[in-house]
């Protein structure tokens, strides 16, 4: 056989998948979860220690305590993804990549906050993930072998939405706590077709909902300094993956679970002057949960433990300066955040898997953010933010109306 197909499908085993698999779509895929609010995004996505607008319902529910008036907010995002994949025939040798990923425009966040006595309640909807990609990988030659991988045409659509309610209250003027309960929904549509429909094809098409929650605390030892802590428990989403054999027949559907990583964060906000606010967060994202109980479909000589994703610790820094022109407040914001590598990696011995999953360097990338806003008479506020990143560029605009 001129083209040796190195991947063997394990038809004979009833496979229960508990996490992502060694399917080609996960090779270079990186999860990037969205943060709500143009204001927070413009400040390097550092908002855990500040959390003083309606997006606190998602980022740190304790911050809702700070809101003294009912308010409605809405945010729209346009995100252009650039997922580099080794797509050309000799790309695994040369390191050459092609950027895939589409530009998505969507309503990313909406909320309503209502303060009553010392309790604050909020209802919100947030898109935590919205990703689309179509890609074609040619018959790629595995370096130092005669092995060639299947040509693959892939199509991925991932969308995650939180529908939540949050409550927050203050124990004292210095200590606040908040809780948000959410019905989180993840929908996955993915299809990988091999060798012009003659190869083994896989397909996931479904929606899954889970109860998730976030809990947060804010402590203000003095007015000009605040600290925040938040823990976000995300869901395990259940899907079925259909598998088409090369002879055209279908195997029974496999169950598949995608665990969206949990998140811990600590942050601080400092106000050296009345108009200036400096924020910093450290966020730990347990990306390794994505590879827990990894399921092998293709690389039959490997063990599940050979596939892994590292947890990531992100650093977020940002600042906001507000000045006035007559009675209009104008805000200028900027910041950056690190995006440590969290791709699926392989530590086994199969050369094809090494070439595909260990492609490229693991380096931490910095993303930069800028933005601004206008607030008129403390009642209406419009903000915008732009994020420059290696793997995505994002423009978001949000509108807040206070009653």
């Amino acid at each position: 056989m001129r083209f040796l197909h190195c991947f063997v499908i394990l038809f004979c085993i009833t496979v229960e998948c508990f996490a992502i698999t060694d399917e080609v779509m996960w090779e270079q895929f990186t999860f990037n979860f969205a943060s709500p609010g143009a204001r927070a995004n413009a400040m390097g996505r550092a908002f855990v220690g500040l959390a003083d607008d309606a997006t606190a319902a998602q980022s740190n529910p304790a911050g809702l305590v700070l809101l003294s008036r009912p308010e409605v907010s809405f945010e729209n995002k346009t995100t252009g993804f650039a997922s580099p994949r080794p797509a050309a025939a000799n790309s695994l040798r040369t390191g050459e990549t092609v950027d895939f990923g589409e530009t998505i425009n969507s309503p990313a966040f909406a909320s309503f906050v209502y303060p009553t006595r010392n309790l604050r309640v909020a209802l919100f909807r947030q898109e935590f993930l919205n990703y689309r990609e179509e890609f074609r990988l040619e018959k790629r030659i595995v370096p130092e072998t005669e092995v060639t991988l299947f040509q693959v045409d892939g199509d991925i659509k991932l969308k995650g939405v939180n529908y939540g309610a949050a409550a927050a209250y203050h124990f004292s003027t210095k200590l606040f706590a908040g809780f948000s309960a959410r019905i989180s929904q993840l929908s996955v549509e993915s299809e990988q077709e091999r060798e012009i429909r003659t190869g083994p094809n896989t397909r996931i098409d479904g929606n899954s909902s889970e109860f998730t929650f976030a809990i947060g605390i804010i402590y203000n030892p003095v007015r000009k300094v605040s600290f925040g802590v938040v823990y976000e428990r995300n869901g395990k989403y259940h899907f079925e993956e259909t598998y088409q054999r090369r002879d055209g027949g279908f195997d029974p559907a496999y169950s598949l679970v995608v665990k969206v990583p949990d998140r811990y964060a600590v942050g601080t906000a400092i106000r050296p002057t009345e108009g200036l606010t400096i924020v910093a967060d450290i966020v730990k994202v347990e990306y390794s949960q994505l590879s827990d109980d990894f399921t092998i479909i293709f690389n039959e000589h490997s063990q599940p433990d050979d596939f892994h994703i590292k947890d990531a610790t992100e650093i977020h820094l940002g600042a906001e300066e507000i000045f006035f022109v007559d009675s209009t407040a104008i805000a200028v914001r900027g910041g950056f955040f690190t995006n440590p590598p969290h791709r699926l990696r392989y530590s086994g011995k199969e050369l094809a898997a090494i070439a595909a999953f260990n492609f490229g360097e693991d380096s931490s990338a910095a993303s930069f953010t800028i933005g601004g806003g206008v607030s008129v008479s403390n009642q209406t506020q419009i903000d915008a933010a732009y994020i420059f990143s290696d793997t995505f560029n994002e423009f978001s605009a949000s509108f807040v109306l206070r009653f």
Binding site: R39, L119, H170, F179, E274, I322, G373
Partner: protein, 277 residues
């Protein structure tokens, strides 16, 4: 899942059993509401709470997010103290507000601030000590005409209606601590009612003014202040019957004297709004 639901329920129920102090800008906003409703005691409490939590005052103080508020509790506390007859404290607060330029020339309150400062200074002149009805009048000033609490306010009414008012306290022997008995005439009752009204003691004001109205049903001023007192209580408590009483008295005022000039300087705009309806 059950644990999470229990935790969520617990966290939502906790606020029902916790009574925490308000954040400074909550206190300030509710203090301002009370001030405009004429509830001076509540306003004083709330504004003082705000000031102790947030001593930095200014025309644009950050509350949260991009929300900045005009935060000048010293000025309003000064006005409250003045209306309560606490002239020394009023003067201190008002001077502080003036020196810190919390209220400046281009603002509506600036002229009022200057007036209050001037009036408070006059009140504090040594020859113008103010006895209240609970004070024992020393023999040395028994025979003197006693200046009135809030008499700056009353001066305008005296001028308006050409009334001469004098409180005559009976002589009290040295060393006795008994409250002097005061024979209350209609004018005196009306005067005391005004003092009570401007001290935010609306119940007492109503009680005295009802006496005045019983004796002189044509007293425009008594009806006006009865309307104001009921309106102030209605704004505080939200009770409809007090609002109704307020409207009744205001209607009488309009019938008796359609061109009646009221005190638009010291009476809450919300009350005047009710009157003008």
């Amino acid at each position: 899942m059950n644990k999470v639901i229990k935790l969520a329920t617990f966290l939502v129920l906790v606020p029902l059993f916790i009574s925490a102090n308000d954040l400074w800008y909550y206190s300030y906003e509710s203090g301002m509401k009370a001030f405009h409703a004429g509830d001076l005691n509540k306003a004083e409490f709330k504004l003082s709470s705000a000031l102790s939590a947030q001593p930095t005052q200014g025309k644009r103080i950050k509350a949260y997010g991009t929300k900045f508020i005009r935060y000048i509790p010293d000025y309003y506390l000064g006005v409250i103290y003045f209306r309560q007859g606490r002239y020394q404290e009023a003067l201190e607060r008002l001077q502080k507000a003036k020196n810190a330029k919390l209220v400046t020339g281009n603002e509506a309150e600036f002229e009022e601030l200057l007036n209050y400062v001037q009036l408070a200074e006059e009140k504090l002149k040594p020859t113008q000590e103010v006895p209240s009805e609970n004070m024992i009048v020393p023999e040395a000033i028994e025979a003197k005409q006693i200046p009135l609490v809030a008499d700056d306010l009353y001066t305008s009414f005296k001028k308006e209606e050409n009334i001469t008012v004098q409180l005559n306290f009976p002589p009290v022997p040295k060393g006795t601590r008994e409250k002097p008995e005061v024979k209350v005439t209609t004018d005196e009752a009306e005067l005391k009612a005004l003092v009570a009204f401007y001290s935010a003691d609306y119940q007492r004001a109503i009680s005295l003014l009802e006496q005045v109205v019983l004796k002189n049903v044509q007293s425009v001023k008594a009806h006006f202040y009865l309307g104001c007192s009921y309106a102030a209580l209605a704004l505080q408590s939200g009770k409809r019957n007090e609002l109704q009483r307020s409207k009744e008295h205001f209607t009488i005022v309009r019938k008796l004297n359609p061109s009646y000039k009221c005190d638009s300087k010291y009476i809450s705009p919300r009350i005047l709004q009710l009157y003008s309806r």
